[in-house]
């Protein structure tokens, strides 16, 4: 049913650290890999080796330039996948009941055998987290690797989403955001984690940790104090040349 549960027992989700993400796109690849090589239909690509390739991805990494009032611009890499919203608008619009939010852990899923591919859920999601697979004709979205995190055939360390397992810089964290004592909740509290587009009223479970303020080192050149300052007013031949050229 597309009615949202009043509350969920857990709020499983991701915490994404915009301070440490280096924009390597490894999570994009591991996500695509896991969801293509394993259970169910692959995430299809169209014209993959042709002139206009395009494909279905459940996780994409944007990059933004932020220009403070003073100082140099900062580059922020910005991974984005389904935020498993508490008030998920994508679920309530679904006419077939294919989209649903699980009571036990809050994961938002699509039952692909019920989906008619009307696309309305993708319209309702503000974050662009849902993509209609052009080959399968059904809606695809992040499953929070529901086929990994409870999978007893995998070793314990793999009971986390593929993107989290892969991230080389530790920018992605997985856990229960409904439990204030969990590591992810603590991290959000410490670092002031935020919701994306809070004005949309979706109450996303996934949180983003803003980049830490950059420090402003006074002078990084350790040799500077030992070197004589370079002369601003050249003397000798160069000085003569400078003055003469000025006059012409």
């Amino acid at each position: 049913m597309t009615e949202l549960p009043q509350s969920t027992q857990k709020k499983l989700g991701l915490v994404i650290d915009l301070d440490t993400c280096v924009g390597c796109h490894a999570c994009v690849i591991s996500c695509k890999g896991w969801n293509t090589e394993n259970y169910g239909a692959p995430l299809s690509d169209q014209d993959a080796y042709g002139a206009a390739p395009s494909g279905t991805f459940l996780n994409r990494v944007h990059s933004y330039e932020v220009q403070p009032d003073t100082g140099p611009a900062q580059l922020v890499h910005f991974p984005k996948s389904c935020l498993h919203c508490e008030d998920a608008p994508c679920v309530t619009v679904c006419p077939t009941g294919a989209s649903y939010k699980r009571v036990e852990d809050g994961i938002v899923l699509v039952n692909e055998s019920d989906c008619i591919g009307c696309g309305l859920c993708a319209w309702a999601c503000p974050y662009g987290a849902r993509e209609l697979d052009q080959a399968a004709g059904v809606m695809k979205k992040c499953t929070l690797c529901v086929d990994r995190i409870y999978n007893d055939n995998l070793p314990q360390e793999d009971h986390i989403p593929a993107c989290v397992r892969t991230c080389p810089s530790g920018a992605r964290h997985f856990g229960d955001l409904g439990d204030p004592e969990s590591e992810v909740s603590q991290l959000v509290a410490q670092r002031g984690g935020v919701d994306l587009m809070p004005e949309m009223g979706t109450k996303p479970v996934n949180k983003y940790l803003p980049p830490r303020p950059k420090d402003q080192p006074p002078d990084l050149d350790v040799l500077a104090p030992f070197l004589a300052p370079i002369d601003q007013e050249p003397k000798g031949f160069l000085g003569w040349l400078d003055r003469t050229l000025d006059k012409i």
């Binding site: 933004y64 932020v66 220009q67 006419p95 309305l120 993509e131 004709g137 803003p210």
Partner: protein, 290 residues
């Protein structure tokens, strides 16, 4: 938003068809026999044809029946149910008029209300979306309903009603455009709220996630249509309101009536195309586009 032809056809034709059914259900005109048959045939071709066109954009049309199940939350599901209920009741009412020369009032009025309900539920599919601020306002259902009732009156040959209703629909359309233009800014959603990086400074989309295009950009970011928006609005309003009103004011003839209808429908098509082409989805912000 991508102006998909199937969705535009669906919403214009089924809007007209259900608009005509509304008038037929109320008994204006209260035709019987072969004349009633022609009226009902036109209404059903438009309404059902539109509904069939709407399945063309589905990824899995063979499962379309499942769309009747989620009426508790989904406007799309409510639309499907409303449409089938309206078509069912109006078929009974139509059979009475065509074969028995009878007008079963209660069924007709109920069918008329359900026909309006279908148009309303269609419009709510768009109006409910916060993600498309231009659509997320009460004027959207008003726009759909007024056009449907006006077009229906024109088809039903209710000249005086048609005249006034077309003028009203034109006014609503104008308001929808003018207020719609301010909705994105009024929603307060910007790249700064989307990324939550505005506290550091001015945010600019630097590099997209991929070099090619994707489903999101194809579906939600459509810039071509907006370039000629003002011209198209003038054309739409001219065809939809000005031409039919002039043709209806001259002494009635079937030719003038037919031309008025053609112009009106062409105008509604243009306006509906703009409805999609001009609508901006907030996800475009993440791509530095609108």
């Amino acid at each position: 938003m991508h102006p998909a032809p199937s969705v535009i056809f669906f919403s214009v034709f089924s809007g007209l068809g259900f608009g005509l059914l509304f008038w037929l259900g109320l008994g204006w005109p209260s035709a019987t026999g072969i004349v009633a048959f022609v009226f009902f045939a036109i209404a059903y071709v438009l309404a059902v044809g539109g509904l069939i066109a709407s399945t063309f954009h589905l990824g899995q049309p063979k499962r379309a029946l499942k769309a009747f199940s989620q009426w508790k939350t989904s406007w799309l599901s409510r639309e499907a149910i409303c449409a089938v209920a309206a078509l069912f009741l109006m078929a009974i009412y139509g059979a009475g008029a065509v074969f028995y020369g009878q007008h079963w009032r209660v069924i007709g009025v109920l069918g008329a209300l359900l026909s309006l309900g279908t148009v309303f539920t269609t419009s709510m599919i768009y109006a409910q979306l916060r993600t498309v601020p231009r659509w997320h306002m009460p004027l959207t259902p008003l726009n759909f309903l007024s056009l449907s009732v006006a077009g229906g009156a024109l088809l039903a040959g209710q000249v005086t009603w048609a005249l006034w209703l077309i003028l009203i629909a034109g006014g609503v359309q104008l308001a929808t455009w003018i207020i719609g233009d301010t909705r994105f800014a009024a929603s307060g959603t910007t790249l700064a709220t989307a990324t939550q990086l505005g506290g550091i400074g001015q945010v600019r989309a630097f590099e997209p996630p991929h070099t090619g295009t994707n489903y999101l950009l194809r579906e939600f970011v459509h810039v071509i249509g907006r370039r000629h928006a003002t011209k198209l609005r003038v054309i739409a309003l001219g065809l939809m309101v000005v031409v039919p009103v002039i043709l209806l004011l001259v002494p009635f003839s079937h030719i003038a009536g037919g031309l008025a209808l053609l112009a009106h429908v062409a105008g509604v098509f243009t306006a509906r195309w703009l409805f999609f082409a001009q609508a901006e989805h907030v996800v475009g912000l993440y791509y530095g586009k609108r």
